[in-house]
């Protein structure tokens, strides 16, 4: 059976279109251009409470995304959550008094870790721990704190009025 040239051409176009579609999915739709996990630079940070932080949440410095959260574990010895941050290897120059805080982007947005570099001369090496951390803000805690302080205020003002 001899193939006509049209058949071969159509099949070629089909295969090319399929590969082009995969390429579009890889380049345009997904985040291929961001970080490769191979040559990362990792830091760990301990938090009392990580709130809604998830694996793959972004890590930013000054609003610029520099990496992401690789693991979140619980340290049963110190009753703390340990987050492992994987940063792009070109950002490996953080002073050892860098602080890490968990913030929420927007009112209902996802949570992320913001790093704030300090002024120290010494740099954090690969795999070292960030000492200064600030836990996630838990909305319920904040509301209950506010309500209690409000109630206490009312009590004291009531007592003062008597």
């Amino acid at each position: 059976m001899k193939q006509t040239k049209t058949t071969e051409l159509l099949v070629g176009v089909f295969i090319a279109a399929g590969i082009a579609a995969l390429f579009v999915l890889a380049m345009k739709v997904s985040n291929l251009s961001s970080f490769s996990q191979a040559d990362g630079y990792t830091l760990t940070a301990r938090f009392e409470n990580v709130g809604g932080l998830k694996v793959r949440s972004p890590v930013t410095v000054g609003g610029v995304r520099v990496g992401r959260v690789a693991h979140i574990d619980y340290d049963s010895g110190r009753f703390e959550a340990v987050a492992t941050l994987e940063l792009d290897s070109k950002y490996n120059q953080f002073p050892d008094d860098t602080s890490a805080s968990i913030y929420t982007s927007g009112l209902l947005g996802e949570q992320y870790i913001a790093l704030e570099p300090g002024g120290s001369e010494d740099l954090l090496g690969d795999g070292s721990e960030i000492e200064l951390t600030q836990s996630a803000l838990v909305l319920e805690k904040l509301v209950s704190k506010f309500l209690f302080s409000k109630a206490a205020e009312d009590n004291t003002s009531a007592e003062a009025g008597e």
Partner: protein, 260 residues
Amino acid sequence: MLEWIRQLGRGGFGFFEKLGRSSLFLLKTLAGIPSVLRRPYLLTAQLLSVGVLSLLLIAVSGLFVGMVLALQGYNTLVDFGAEESLGVVVALSIVRELGPVVTGLLFAGRAGSALTAEIGLMKATEQLSGMEMMAVDPIHRVIAPRFLAGVLSMPLLAAIFSAVGIYGGYFVGVGLLGVDDGAFWSQMQSKVDLHEDVYNGVIKSLVFGVVVSWIAVFEGYDTVPTSEGVSRATTRTVVHSAFAVLGLDFVLTALMFGDY
């Protein structure tokens, strides 16, 4: 009562016998693939009828699925003021689920049924026996090229479905509903992961391609060689493929995206 239980037993035997027969058939088909690679023109002809001729159906369906997703997603998201996430909604639903699954179902209806009818009719008109008489193995010559063409076409068709669907969603979301162009793509790119979402979608479509092509060629080869038998086999191909695609999709999703 006893007769009823016996019937149940016979049904069970029949099921396992068919499963065994189809597994042996799959092994023989896989063994026939090297001989297809030596005669690539057999494969090209099948790629044309299985892949290229399904292309228009897949592309148009993908376009409309993406457009409907954008329309529906927008109506829900706009209540939360989160219409910028429309790109994420459309891309994740299409790349993870709808792309492979809808393509699998359409592929079973468009290409699978045609494969079964063709092979079944070849058997009914004794063309397959004729080949055996001429010492040509019909599994090498007829079955394996069709199976391989189905397996190769499915991931390509699913990728085309997904890409066209996302552009359909883009057209409706950005063009008609006024979602911001930059936010649509940037949110999508930050939430869709190449490994977790795109690769798993491709793996799903490959699995569906193997299963649908397997069912189609087996039902054709196993058909009762009468016109009624061919029509039943064609129906069974579509029904079994639909069950297999939807059932396997749940299993694969649980394995890929479940947290355990």
